[in-house]
């Protein structure tokens, strides 16, 4: 799965999790830019991403994420690793 495909899927996920169609999912996007992106919603977001991409994150990995760009890189690395297994 390449980056444009990951961003496209993430856009659908963000719309679903935040119930908001106008969120532009860019690499710079972070919690401070989205109303309602608090710690509890972040858990829902991570669970939804894991389910959609059929991957699992560790707690330290989630803790290091600073924006959507970091999340995309993590998804990319994790899906690549899965393909190689």
């Amino acid at each position: 799965m390449d980056e444009p495909q990951i961003y496209a899927r993430l856009a659908e996920i963000f719309q679903d999790v935040f119930d908001e169609d106008s969120i532009a999912v860019t690499p710079e996007l972070s919690a401070k830019d989205v109303d309602g992106w608090d710690s509890l919603t972040h858990i829902r977001l991570m669970l939804t991403v894991e389910k959609a991409f059929k991957i699992k994150f560790s707690v330290p990995e989630i803790g290091k994420l600073e924006n959507v760009g970091d999340l995309v890189m993590l998804i990319k690395a994790r899906t690549l690793k899965k393909q190689l297994q």
């Binding site: 679903d16 119930d19 509890l40 858990i43 829902r44 939804t48």
Partner: protein
Amino acid sequence: MNSLYSELQWLPRPPREFRERLRDLENSAGQLGRELQSLALHALDVNQLTKLAKTIGKARADGRSLEPLVPLRLAVLSNSTIDLIVPALVASAARHGIALEVIQPSYDQVAQEALTPGSKVNSSKPDAVLLALDYRALR
């Protein structure tokens, strides 16, 4: 976890237009409770459960009738974070014909809420109280 339970496999898949149907209900003049129950009858994921619970909460705050759902006020006393469970309780209760209102006091205030007459839980006069206690905090 067994996907039978995690995916609620005994229930039908939710309609593709679930979000739209839920949004339409906010301005619908139809029987809201029956419509909410028909949406709740599907295998909803965590985001759909959250949206459905939010719609029920908003309807209640707006004074809209949720009939034929039967009202039930449940206080949950817990020493764990239950914020992610509450929407699932509310939305799943609708599946069973119940308009559940959850009274959720502040985190880890079990004894204070139970023993103080004017606490949030006692003053809300719940129909039932759920003690959801983690054994590790009992000492």
